[in-house]
Symmetry: C2
Subunit: 254 residues, 2 copies
Amino acid sequence: MKILLHISFLGTAYAGYQIQKDQNTVQKVLCDGAERVFGFPCDITGCSRTDSGVHAKHFCATVTEKGKNTLHTSIPTERIPLAFGSVLPSDVSVFDAEEVSEDFHPRYDVLEKEYEYRIYNRRTRDPFSADRSWHYPKRIDDEALSKMRRAAKQLVGRHDFAAYMASGSSVEDTVREVKAAEVTREGDFIVFRVSADGFLYNMVRIFTGTLIGVAEGKISPEEISSITESKDRSRAGVTAPAAGLYLNKVTYKK
Amino acid sequence: MKILLHISFLGTAYAGYQIQKDQNTVQKVLCDGAERVFGFPCDITGCSRTDSGVHAKHFCATVTEKGKNTLHTSIPTERIPLAFGSVLPSDVSVFDAEEVSEDFHPRYDVLEKEYEYRIYNRRTRDPFSADRSWHYPKRIDDEALSKMRRAAKQLVGRHDFAAYMASGSSVEDTVREVKAAEVTREGDFIVFRVSADGFLYNMVRIFTGTLIGVAEGKISPEEISSITESKDRSRAGVTAPAAGLYLNKVTYKK
């Protein structure tokens, strides 16, 4: 048996998910929390890495006894979220826990992930959205929004997305399948939601920067397919700031 | 001429609105900001005091030259919000500014204020709502919600609200007119919105604690009128935590 934790975190205070020496990371906080909950050192294996300042409404990670692929505990599984609640800081929460088999892997068994990118689109700043969105003060009107939607549609499908990968990434296979990509206006926010079987490094943030390029008229919606085909990072838009990005949902193969 | 600023702030980092010695307050931050914007020392006069940790989606304050009841500036009024934007910290924002006459008073001329109290009602904590809501983990079901609504309705009208005022307050006239009081479920939140011509000290937080008493079956919805009539603070509910409270809207007499 292993325990799969369903987690949410506000990424502002963290140098990303993954443990790094002398840095405060979400994985470290979960490791320390797990040791206090279970009473022995634990390994935490997450569903993905996230950058510094990126948030998660739903992140998944397994907890196992350190150096083993299993966990034995007398704590009933349904009580594990509250047990973590009493040891974790207020910006990280375990909202659910379930038993999974020893051959389950929280990264390799992912079927689909959904990300959300939030753009705060008013002239002045919003104190409640600071560090939780990209403040983009220039008005995105309905015409620009409609162009962003047309552009987003062209990202859907199985493509080589190398044009939307941060340079310096060492991944060899850059083909991914984008299942859905939608842009909506929600009050003062423009929200971009995208799901795929996997994502390249900075892919959602570069998608977002490209959509903003479309809103600004620098890129035409019809140009997206040729940017994708070019595999040329310099033809896509800027990398949107980390603070607007949320991992929304992780779905596993049954 | 005076300038009326429309402001929003996240109250977490502040010892409330009003300037106090050796404390970080919203008024102090606005005073310092105004001096940088206009180039001379200013007075900031707010529409109300708020407690430490309380937030405002819409707070109003006038800015005048220090010791005078007027302000002369060459900055066009429509540019004042952005000017403040470049000098204020990220948790305070001026989102609008308008010219008002010298006989306008931001506190005495208030016609109505609306507050919102946000209760996060899931078993586990939410990182995104920490310091921005009251985490109340026990499930408030539809029956309890309906009782809270019946109770809230009885607060509407012109009443002596002394039973819902923090003890130690020195206000003499405790009669206020509550114009509306509504309880709604919005996703994982229970939201209580109340508007009145004025509020006593801690009134919304004690209203909220009383509504939670109703949800828990400790107070019956029909008992509210008699609690109000009793003017007895000990019969009302607890004072809900500051973090869930938002000043939503300030309306002025024309």
